[in-house]
Amino acid sequence: MKARRKFDKSMILPFIICTVYALTLVYPFVYLLIGSFNTPLNFISDPLGIPKEFQLQNFKDVLFRLDEITYDENLSLAKMFLNSITLSVGLTLISMALQSMGAYVLAKYDFRGNKAIYLTIIIASMIPTVGSLPATMRLMTSAHLTNTYIGMLCLQSGAFGGCFLYLHAYFKSISWSYAEVAMIDGASDFSVFTRIMVPLAGKAIKTYGIICFLGFWNDYWLPSLFYNEHPTLAVGLTYIQTYATSQANYPLLFAAMITIIVPVLILFACFQKQLLGSVAEGGLKE
C-alpha cells in the first residue's frame, strides 16, 4: 500500500467479500473476549449481550486456580504451559538437529548408499498411508513409551519428514569451497558442519524451526494419544471444555481460550514476516 495507485473500481466487490470473510474470522474472538469478562449466569441469560460489569475473576481463575476448580491437579495453567513448552521446544531442537544432520550428509557427501537412502525416503513419503497409527500405538505401548517425554521425542523427531527436502536443497546450494579451505587448515568434518555449514544455513534452519515449533505447540492429536497424562495446553483445553460445559461455566472456558492463544499471537506478531515468507518459500520448492 506504499505507492497508492488510482482506485480500481473492479476491486470494490472483491474488497467487500474479503472484508466480510476477515470479519467472520475475527468476530468469534470478540465474542469470546466479551464473554470471558462475564459471569456464568449473566452469560447464559444473554450470550450476545455486553456484560453488566466487567469482572476479571475468570482470568484470575484460569491463571491461578484452574486445577482447584476442575479438581484435576494436571490442569493447572502453569503445568500445562510447562508441558507445552518443554515438549515443543525439545521436539523442535531435536528434530531440527536431526533434520540438518541427515540433510547435510546426504547433500554434501558422496558415499555408497547415499542415492539409495535419498530415493527410499522420497518414494516412501509419496505413498499415502492411511492407517499407520494403530501399529504406532502398538509399538508405543509395547515399548512402554506412552506418556514419557523420551517416547514423544522418539516418535516425532523424524529427520526425513517436514523440512528435510528444503534443508537438503539448501545445503546443496551452499558452496563447498568454504569447507575445503577450513579442511586444509585442519578442521574436522564435524567442525566444518557445526562451525561453517550450520551458520551458513542458519536463516533457513531458523525459519523452518519456527514453523516446526508452531506445529508442535499446536499439535493436539499425538499428545492426546501418547502424552495425555501430561496435558499440554491444546490437550488440556479439551478437558477444560468438558468441565466447563458440564457446569455451564462458559466464561471460564472463554478466558482459558483467550489466555492460551495470547502467547501464540505475540509470537506471530514478532515473526510474522519471516513466518509467512518461509511458508511461501516451502511451497514453492515442492
Binding site: 474470522l25 497409527l133 502398538r138 494419544l225 514453492l284
Partner: protein
C-alpha cells in the same frame, strides 16, 4: 559430488574419520526412520493378518479382518458412508484451492488492505485447531450460539431452528464449511508467492493488450503457476484420506455415524477404549490400496495438463 577427489584417495586415516563422521551423522535419523516409519508400516501389514486374544494375548494368524472388512463394506452402510464423506472432503478441498486461488489473485492485483487480510486469513494456521474448532462450535451452538440467537430474533420459531451439529444432514456440511473457513490462509500464501514470481514482462504485456482480469487469471496466471497449483490439487487426495482431527473435535463422528471419514474410522479406534488395533490396521491398509492408485493417476493427469501448458 562436491568433494575434492584428491583428499578422498590419498589419505586413508582421513577417509576413515570421514566414514565415522557420515555414519554417526546418519545413525539417529536412519534408526528413527527404520523404527517409526518402516517397521510401523510393515507391522501394520502384519497386524492386519492377526487376531489377538484379549485374555491370553496369544496371536493367531487369520484372514478374519479382511472378511470382516468386505462383509461390513457390502452389508453395513457406515463404511460406504465414510467413503462418501471422504470423497466429498476431497472435492471440498478442491473448492478450497479454487477459492484460495481467486483470493490470492485479488491480493496479487493489490486489493486495498491486503497485508491485513493476509495476516487475518492466516490466523487459523497458527492458532491451535482445538481453539478454532471450539469457536466454530460455539457459533453454531443451539443455546448460546450467535447464529441461532439472531435467527430467533429475526422471528424464526424456536422449533424450526436448525440443530446444526445435532442434525445428521447438516453436521458433515458444517465440517466442510469449517475446512473452507480456516483453510484459505495457507493456500493463499503459497499460491500468492507463485504469482509474485511471475515475470513482470508477461503481466505488462497482458496489461497493454487490455486482457480482462478473469481471462488473465485463467489464460495466463493459472498455466504459469501450474507446478505449484498441481501440488495443491494433489493435496486433495491427501485430505480425502487423512481428514479426521476436525471430525474428532467437531462431532466425534456423530450424530449417528453421519460424519465418519475413512481416517476417522481408523484413528478413532486407536484412541477409543475398545482399541481393536488389528481391525484399524486392516481398514487403513484397504484404504491405502484405494488411495495409492488415485494419487498416481491424478499426478499423471496433472503432469499431462502441465505439459500442455508448457511447464
Amino acid at each position: 559430488m562436491t568433494m575434492n577427489p584428491s583428499i578422498k584417495k590419498k589419505t586413508t586415516p582421513r577417509e576413515k574419520k570421514r566414514r565415522i563422521f557420515i555414519v554417526s551423522m546418519l545413525a539417529l535419523p536412519v534408526l528413527q526412520w527404520l523404527v517409526f516409519f518402516a517397521y510401523v508400516n510393515i507391522n501394520s501389514v502384519l497386524m492386519s493378518f492377526q487376531s489377538i486374544s484379549y485374555s491370553t494375548g496369544k496371536i493367531t494368524w487369520t484372514l478374519k479382518n479382511y472378511t470382516r472388512f468386505f462383509n461390513e463394506l457390502t452389508q453395513l452402510p457406515y463404511i460406504r458412508g465414510a467413503l462418501k464423506n471422504s470423497f466429498i472432503a476431497g472435492l471440498n478441498n478442491l473448492l478450497l484451492v479454487l477459492i484460495s486461488l481467486i483470493l490470492a489473485y485479488f491480493f496479487y492485483k493489490k486489493i486495498p488492505g491486503r497485508s491485513i487480510f493476509r495476516v487475518v486469513y492466516f490466523l487459523p494456521s497458527i492458532i491451535s485447531i482445538v481453539v478454532y474448532t471450539m469457536v466454530f462450535k460455539f457459533i453454531f451452538d443451539t443455546s448460546i450460539g450467535p447464529i441461532n440467537i439472531v435467527l430467533q430474533k429475526l422471528g424464526v420459531e424456536a422449533t424450526n431452528l436448525p440443530a446444526w451439529f445435532g442434525d445428521t444432514h447438516l453436521a458433515f456440511p458444517l465440517i466442510m464449511l469449517y475446512c473452507l473457513w480456516v483453510g484459505t490462509g495457507y493456500n493463499i500464501i503459497i499460491l500468492g508467492a507463485a504469482m509474485e514470481n511471475l515475470p513482470e514482462s508477461v503481466m505488462e504485456y497482458s496489461k497493454l493488450e487490455g486482457v480482462g482480469k478473469f481471462r488473465e487469471l485463467f489464460q495466463i496466471v493459472i498455466p504459469m503457476i501450474w507446478p505449484t497449483l498441481s501440488v495443491a490439487f494433489l493435496g486433495c487426495i491427501t485430505v480425502m484420506f487423512s481428514l479426521f482431527i476436525q471430525v474428532s473435535l467437531l462431532t466425534g463422528g456423530g450424530p449417528g455415524n453421519s460424519t465418519y471419514t475413512v481416517a476417522y474410522m481408523v484413528n478413532s479406534l486407536v484412541s477409543g477404549y475398545s482399541s481393536d488395533l488389528e481391525w484399524g490396521a486392516t481398514m487403513g491398509l484397504c484404504f491405502t490400496v484405494i488411495a495409492a492408485p488415485m494419487v498416481i493417476i491424478l499426478k499423471k493427469i496433472l503432469d499431462k495438463v502441465g505439459e500442455h501448458f508448457g511447464c
